[in-house]
Amino acid sequence: MKILILGEYEKNGMKRATQSAIRFAQSIDPDAEIETIVIGWQMDSVIQDFKRWSNVLIADHESLAVPTADRYGRLLKTIVLERNADILLGATTTFCKDVLANAAGQLGGAMVGDIIGHDNRDGELLFQRPMYAGSVVATVRLIGTPKILTVRPSSYPPSAETGEIFTTTKMEIDAAVLPDLVRYEGLRSQSSSRPDVTEARVVVSGGRALKNSEDFETIVGGLADALCGATGSSRVLVDNGITPNELQVGQTGKIVAPDLYVALGISGAIQHLAGMKNSKTIIAINNDSEAPIFDVSDYGMVGDIYQIVPDLIKAFHAD
């Protein structure tokens, strides 16, 4: 089987999410020929890192400097057809959702998104994926090839490094054949010194109980820092402009599964649970003893986060 993976990177290296996608590819077929595609411009240090995980197909060109779905989608279509690939896959991230579904629209549409498990039944691949905000898990099969997949990173541990250095292949890029339907005008992100919410071992999240960004920073940020963790938030705080969108955990935000998830003043709506219910340990603090979040928590404390959390932070700093 020939599997292509759409790689994602930051500064100098592969994102953990892509390492999970590689692990998934290895687990659906241990004999698969795997190639990770890296698209962008001037990516030398990134490529050095990618070589540690699998064979690499490099699409390095000025015309690919910014990630637009029209160009990347067309390029992926060409690569899949040229390489006669059986599967094109990536992690469930906004980048892959945007680009891979566009590529799938040019490649016959056999796509399944956000895979959390798989089976091999008589040589046929079956995939598990959540529906209805995670209330239901469906087992599906795809009809036709190539198959386009996205894989939930928290369901597959990152691929292990073997010490092997893999081979790279550089593609010829003809910018003239690439579409030019959108202009990329920039990215605004709130730089944070904290780890990414999807990669951290500890996530401390805040909900409507937090009245403003200062309180969020002191209470949620304070506890996250004491535990060397990341901060997350419910939808409500993003809607109210208290937290940036990249912190939203849930059905339509990020999916996390850290060793410890601490929910502060979050009621536990199904859409929020969809993003964190597979965390190893869940701890909730909420002043409503009936809040549904307690039903999915290992440990709960009823009370005001404004009183409890500062004491908790103090206790950790005292250590």
């Binding site: 906004t94 969108n245 339509t252 701890i283 440990y299 404390m301 908790l312």
Partner: protein
Amino acid sequence: MKILVTCKRVPDPDQKIRLQADSREIDSENLPYILNPFDAIAVEESLRIRETHGEPVEIVAIGIGVEECDKTLRTALAMGADRAVLIPWDSFLDPWNVSGILEKIIQRENPSLVLMGKQAVDGDSNQTGQMLAARLGWAQATFASRIEFQSGGKLKVERETDSGIETLGLNLPAIITADLRLNEPRYASLPSIMKARKKPIERIETSELGWAPDPKVEIINMSMPQTSRKKVRLTDISDLVARIKEALKTN
């Protein structure tokens, strides 16, 4: 300008989902259905564009599905859409097939902008808009949190990505999928609900569109995931500290 807005009928996300005995489908008996929340945001955005756009704007709501989608489309009409089209279909359709039907409708209606929800909260696929853009070769902007019309038919779209807010410039025709922060949909007033009853809902059979199903995804079965948690209540901060330390120690 003509704007096409997609409107899917989905179970109310606040309701508990149950499965049928054969675990092939959800149990829809007594389940209240609503307009997919993301599609409601798309409808709202089309109305705001009409309210602020210099030229006349026609808004056409499209539904694909069972006869009851009629009600879902009435919601869009009550919010302010001008007319609606229902393509009757009574079994599961995957995103490839939905985008195939939409492509045919678009060839018939010739809109210059298609607004859709970024995902439907039943299937949670988040693929139909992208596949449609690919099929048509149109500009694509997913997860939109802001749409601004500029002079000369140009659009500026802000989109919510995992790493922050990205800005794209596009020309029409385009497919834009709505995220939560694009707007807050209005509630239809009683008079507009009354008025919507008189607005036309055209029915077009898939055969009339020259479309035939081409299934790509087959759902084999469904299950309800169970998680069991300890659910221990703590009252002392020191216990809380101990439990946190324990959780950090594992593995």
